[in-house]
Every structure is written in structure tokens, then in C-alpha cells.
Amino acid sequence: MTDLPGHMAVALGADDIETLFGAMARTIIAHAEELTALDQAIGDGDHGVNMKRGFEAVTANLPAIAAKPLPEALKAAGMELVMKVGGASGPLYGTLLMTLGKTLPAAPGRGDVAAALAAAIDAVKARGKSETGQKTMLDVLAPVQAAVARGEDLATIRAIAAEAAAATVPMRATRGRASFLGERSVGHMDPGARSSQLLVEAVCDAIGDFA
């Protein structure tokens, strides 16, 4: 088991931040159609479109965002999502990034990351009046946070994110639009769980590259 890369305990440079957000944006944009198709099955068919719009805005402002220290960059990217994504995912992912920005120090270590993720997930829960087990993005974010806190390596974190997303398939939704479907929400992957998995994978890749 390898640790999170050591230089995470020093401040990320503009290049690193650009790599990080660039990777997140690229994977969301590349998977937009898949995310929309998942949302057509149990939602309203816009999750990919929404996320793509938001991350295109992040991409357009990437130089300005990356010029900031990591906490400010996270807040700026989060605000970009809030103002561009709309729907449920805009405020939620926006809150996630903005809270990470508020909680992370400029040169975070593993413990800082675990704590900041925990705070960000709590903020998402408060904003969404939701809990894990309701077939939402939280069902990926929470196990990933736990894995980080336990000190799992990047490969394990990736695997846990993938498993967690897959585990939303048999769930019955009690939050989000899929909850309107009741029993009929069973048997489909939650679109937000899938986008969270994609973001976690992108972050793992980027961090792996820094190492």
C-alpha cells in the first residue's frame, strides 16, 4: 500500500492545480453523454449536460483559477459550478468544492485531506438534506472519504469509488429526482454517483502524476 504522494504536504503550484481541474473537467466532458443517459433512465436527462456546462466554465477560467492558492482555487471552481451547473448537482458539487476550499490548508497532508473531505461531505448533506444510502453522489463520496482516512492507496481508492458507484444500482432512491420513481429507481446506476466516481478517478490520476 503506497501512501498519498508525499509532496501533497507542500503547496500545489499553478501547474498542479491546472492538471487537477483539467483532469476533472476532461473526464466529465468526455462522459457527458453517458451521464445524461443515466439521468434519462431515472431522472430528467440533464446531468451530463449540466456537469459539462459547469466544467466547460471551469476550463474557460482555468488559468485564473490555477493562479490562486489551492483553497482559493477550490472556492473559485466551486462558485463557478454553483453559477453554471444549476439543477441539484450545481449547488451540491459547488458546496463540496467550496467547503474543501474553506477547510484545506494551502499545503495539505493526508490528514488534512481526510478532514476536509469529511467537512465537505457534511456540507453536501446539509445542503441536500440527505444521507448516505439514498442513492446519490454521497454513496460514492462517503466511502471514498473513509478510504482516504484509513490511508488506502490511490488504486484502492479508485476501486472503492467504482464499487460504490456500482453499488447504487440495486438501491432504491429516497433523494433526488429518482426518488419520484419509487421502486422503479432500482436497477439503474445513480448519475451523480457515476459523476463522483469519475471525479475521484480524475483526482487520483492527477495526484498519481504529481508523485
Binding site: G45, G86, A88, G90, P91, R184
Partner: protein, 329 residues
Amino acid sequence: MKKLINGVETVLRESLDGFCAAHSDIVVLGEDHKFVRRRALKPGKVALVSGGGSGHEPLHVGFVGHGMLDAACPGQVFTSPTPDQMLAAAEAVDQGAGVLYVVKNYEGDVMNFEMAAEMASGTVATVVTNDDVAVEASSFSTGRRGVAGTLVVEKVVGAAAEAGADLASCQALGERVNARTRSMGIALTSCTVPAAGTPTFSLAEDEMEMGVGIHGEPGRRRVKLMPAREIADEMVAAILGDFGADASGEALLLVNGFGGTPTMELYLMYDNARKLIERRGIRITRSLVGNYVTSLEMAGCSLTVTLLDEEIARHWDAPVHTAALRWGM
């Protein structure tokens, strides 16, 4: 996808440009297409602001004008607008008596309006509409969706605000109208979100969705296509059953088309529903039939019943001058 558009990126903008040009006597377009507001604001009046995903036209922009909304924020198709839109709209129409947000109960809408309210400098109150009986309410779920009944809330509270009611009274009235309003919808076909390019769901030639919302989302049950009378019967039973013992006296009946159903069929549904409701001892004294809260080109309709009292009926009858609802002036 067969649509009269120039490209999925510009649908919303071009449509809003057209709307504001066609109704320039009533409305003004906000900068960056963030909102549509009344041309003539009324000093000292509580400002009513609504909004939501686009694709439900005329809701909400078609209800901006005298006696109804002061501003509406159009989100992307079926996607809640963002807090900056609501902030800009509120700022543009706030006349010092506070702003009332009318929000349909979807987590996206609720969260975005909540964030806007948190960021706002002025006084803000909110009414959340949740009239859709197709979705079972439960403390473990998101609760009921806000659908066509939202029109009734906007009309009635709009009239009260026009008549000088203060923010707290407008909010209380909105909650009361919402509590006396129930809706239920069905779909015969799906719709296609322009940016998605393919229908949200698909139905066989002999199938329909019972209990759909207004986003082309699948309903509660997929059933065989039934005669209009039986469809109306199931909808009316769900609505009146949910009212329970409260359902008596006079009511408003709104038969709302989702966008792809001919007017002829909407009036036929009205005929069937009205008879079923009146048989239950409720008198329909106010009616509205047409495409008001749509789901792009979806075929189908919803029924909305509002139990009237003197105050609600009076505000319903009060003059209104918007693009989509107009009477008395």
C-alpha cells in the same frame, strides 16, 4: 430530434429574445438573459419572483406582468436556474417591501433558491409548491413535486401582492393555496431535451405513463393506454382521495396540456374530469384549459384542483395582464 432550432446552445437565448420582443409591452429582458421582469414595476409592492428549468413555457416567463409575477428566472431546459439569476432578478424588482420566491419542490430548485436567499441583501421569503399527488409524500423522501398548481399559487398571490398585501401575508396565502391544491399528470409520449438529443423515455404504441411530472421523467407506473374516462377517473380519484374529507364546496379545475396534446383532447379530458368531480359533490366554478405548464412536446396532460374560498376566488378573478394569462384588463 426534430426541433425548430438553430442549435442546442442557442435555443434558450433565442427563445427568450423572441418572447421579450413579442411581449415588449409587458416585459423586459434582464442582462445576460438572467431573468425576465415586468416592464412597469409598482413602488412599495411585494416583489414576486419565480423561476425554474425552461421547457415548461409559458411557465414562468409567460406569467410575468400585472397581477402575477414581477420576475422569472429561466434555467436551462429542465434545469434549475442558478443563484446569480435569482439575485439579479430580486435586485431588479425589489421595491422595498421584500421579495417572495415561488419555488417548485425539486431539490435543484430548492437548493439554488436557498443559496440565493442566503446571499441576498434584502428581505426574502419563500413558498415551495408541492401539488403533485402522483408522488407519495414521506419524511424519507424528497416529497411531492411542484407542478401545474404553481400557476394557481402565482396567480392568487400575485393578485394579493398587487392589492398591497405584505410579505408575510403573501407567503401565508401562498402556502394556503398550495395546501388546497392537488395535481396529477399522465403522458402518452416522452419529450426530448434539446441538449440530450434523444427522448427521455420511450413508450410502446399502446402504453402510457401514469403519474408523470413535467420533465419527461418516467411516472409511477407504466400501464396500457386507457380510454379518457378511465384516465380521468384514476386522476380524479388520486386528487380527491388525497384531499380526503376536506374536499367540498367550490373548486377551480385546471386541465393542463403538456405541449403535444391537441386542444380538442384537453377539452374532452375537461369534460370527463369535471363530471367525475361534480359527482363527488364539488362544484367547479373556475376553469382553465390549455398548455400552461408544459414539458416540451410531451403528449399528455395534468389535472389540478384547487379548493376555493372567498379570498382565493377573489384573487383568481382579479385582473391579470401577462403573456399567457390575461383578463380584466
